[in-house]
C-alpha cells in the first residue's frame, strides 16, 4: 500500500490534469486523499490478517476519496477483502479470482461495462490477461490505459461530453493502471 501511495503522490497532478478536459480535474487529489488515509490507517494500527488489510484500505477509500472513484475503488477492495477471507497467502489463480471479484464490485456499483471509457476498461482486460497468461507487465497495462483514449465516454462525468470525450485518456483507468503496476512490482503479478 505504501508503494501505491507513493505512486499516486507522484502522479497526483498528472491524474488531475487528465481529469480536466473530460471531467472536473480532481481525480488525482481525490485518490491522493484516499491512499494517504489508507497508508496511515495501516501504519497506525496494523491489521492482523490480509483480509483486514484490504478492508481497511476499502474503508479509507470509501470515506476519504469521494467523487465517483471512492465508492468504486472502495467496493473493489471490499469485495477483494471478502474473497480473501481467512487466506494469508494467495496463489496466482486466487489472485486472479480476487481481482475479478474486485472488478465485479466496480461493475455492479457503477452499473457500467467495458467500452464506456472508465476504469473498467483497464480492470477487465488486465484481469483477463492475468487469468489467461498468469503474468502481466507494465507495458501491457500502459497499452490498456491508452486504449481508453479513442473511446467515447458513456459513463461518469466524461459522458456529458459525448463525442468530445474522444481523444482523452481516462483518469480512472490511468489510476487503476498505477494500481496494477504496483501490484506487478510488489505482489508478484509478473
Amino acid at each position: 500500500m505504501d508503494a501505491f501511495t507513493n505512486t499516486i503522490e507522484e502522479n497526483k497532478t498528472h491524474l488531475s490534469k487528465l481529469d480536466n478536459p473530460i471531467g472536473d480535474g480532481d481525480h488525482g487529489h481525490n485518490m491522493s486523499r484516499g491512499v494517504k488515509a489508507a497508508s496511515e490507517a495501516l501504519n497506525s494500527t496494523p491489521p492482523k490478517t490480509l483480509s483486514e488489510v484490504f478492508k481497511t484500505v476499502a474503508m479509507s477509500l470509501i470515506s476519504k476519496v469521494g467523487g465517483a472513484a471512492g465508492p468504486l475503488y472502495g467496493t473493489a477492495f471490499l469485495n477483494m477483502s471478502k474473497y480473501i477471507g481467512d487466506n494469508e497467502t494467495l496463489s496466482k489463480e486466487q489472485i486472479a479470482s480476487m481481482l475479478e471479484e474486485g472488478l465485479n464490485g466496480i461493475k455492479t456499483r457503477g452499473k457500467a461495462t467495458t467500452g464506456e471509457k472508465t476504469m473498467i476498461d483497464l480492470w477487465e482486460p488486465a484481469v483477463n490477461h492475468f487469468k489467461e497468461n498468469g503474468t502481466l507487465d507494465a507495458s501491457i497495462i500502459d497499452d490498456y490505459v491508452e486504449k481508453t483514449n479513442p473511446m467515447k465516454a458513456t459513463k461518469g462525468r466524461a459522458a456529458y461530453l459525448g463525442e468530445r470525450s474522444i481523444g482523452h485518456t481516462d483518469p480512472g483507468a490511468t489510476s487503476s493502471g498505477l494500481l496494477f503496476k504496483t501490484l506487478i512490482d510488489t505482489a508478484g503479478l509478473s
Binding site: 481525490n30 456499483r109 459522458a159
Partner: protein, 329 residues
Amino acid sequence: MKKIINKPENVVEEMMQGFAQTHDDLVHRVGETRVMARNYEGKNKVGIISGGGSGHEPTHAGFLGKGMLSAAVFGDVFTSPTPDQVYEAIKAADKGAGVFMVVKNYTGDVLNFEMAKDMAEAEGIEVDYCVTNDDISVEDSTFSDGRRGVAGTIYVHKILGAMAERGASLKDLKTTAEKIIPEMKTIGIALSPATVPEQGTPGFELNEDEMEFGIGIHGEPGYERVKLQDSKSIAKEIYGRIKKAYDLKDNDEFVVLVNGMGATPLMEEYIFMNDVLALMKHDGIKVVKKMVGDFMTSIEMAGLSLTLLRLKDAQWLKDINEPVETPAW
C-alpha cells in the same frame, strides 16, 4: 490563484465553521462531521437532506431551516461527499418519519448517496431519494448517465421542503419529486472559469473574447464555445433551446430563475432576466414567478444559468412562495 483563503486544503472546514457561526440562529454543525443541520426540529416530519461537492454556495447549507432542508453534507470542493458523511446527515435528519435525499445527477453523488442509503437502511432508517437532471445542455440518453443536476434542484428542495413541513410522507415526496424533475430545464454559460483551491489552476480556459454555452457547475465543458455575445443574443440562444425542450401547451405557467455562477454581478443578472422576459412575453408564455440571484454557484466562475420550471400543479407555486427560515432562500 487569487483567493481570500488560508490553506487550500482547509477551505471546506473553515467555511463550515464560518457558516455555522454566522447562522447559529438557524443551523448547527453535527459534531466534527461534514454535516450541517437545521436547529428547527421538525419532529415526526420527513427529513430532507441534500449535498454534494462544495463550491456551489449558498447551495446546499444555505437552504437549511424550517420549511426546507433538514441537513446538508459538504463534500470537498467539486467532489461528492463520502457515504459515511451522507449517512451522518441521514441520521441527523431522521425524526422518525424517514429521510428523503435530493441528489444531483453526477455518478459520484449518486454512488455515494446510494451507499449511504444502504448504510442507513441497515440501521433501520427508511430512506428514499430522487436524482435531479435539469441541465439540458447535455443530451439525455438511456445509454449514458444522462443529464447533470444543476440550479433547478433548488425548486425540488423548496417544494418538497414545504410538503414535508405540512407532514407529507416519504412516498408523497418521491411522487412529487418525480413529477417536478422532468418539468425543470436549465442551461448555463460561462465567461470565465473557477479554480478549485486544492488544484490551484483554472478548470478550463477561455480567451478574453470568448464565452461558452452549456457549461456545467463544475466547469464541465459545454456544447459550444463562441465569441462573447450580448445579453439579448445569449438569452435567445439558451431560452430558445429550453423552450424547444418543452412540449408547450397553451396555458402553461412558468417559474423563471436567472442564477449567477459566483462572480457575475447582479447588474448583469437583471439585464439578462429583462431580455429573457421580453422573449417570453413575445412568445406569449405566462411567467408567474421570477427569481434572480446566486443560488447554485461554481465558486468564482463568471456566468449564469437560466432555469425554467413548468408548473404542472398549482400547489407547486404556493409551496415555492411559502415562507421559510433559512440563511439563503
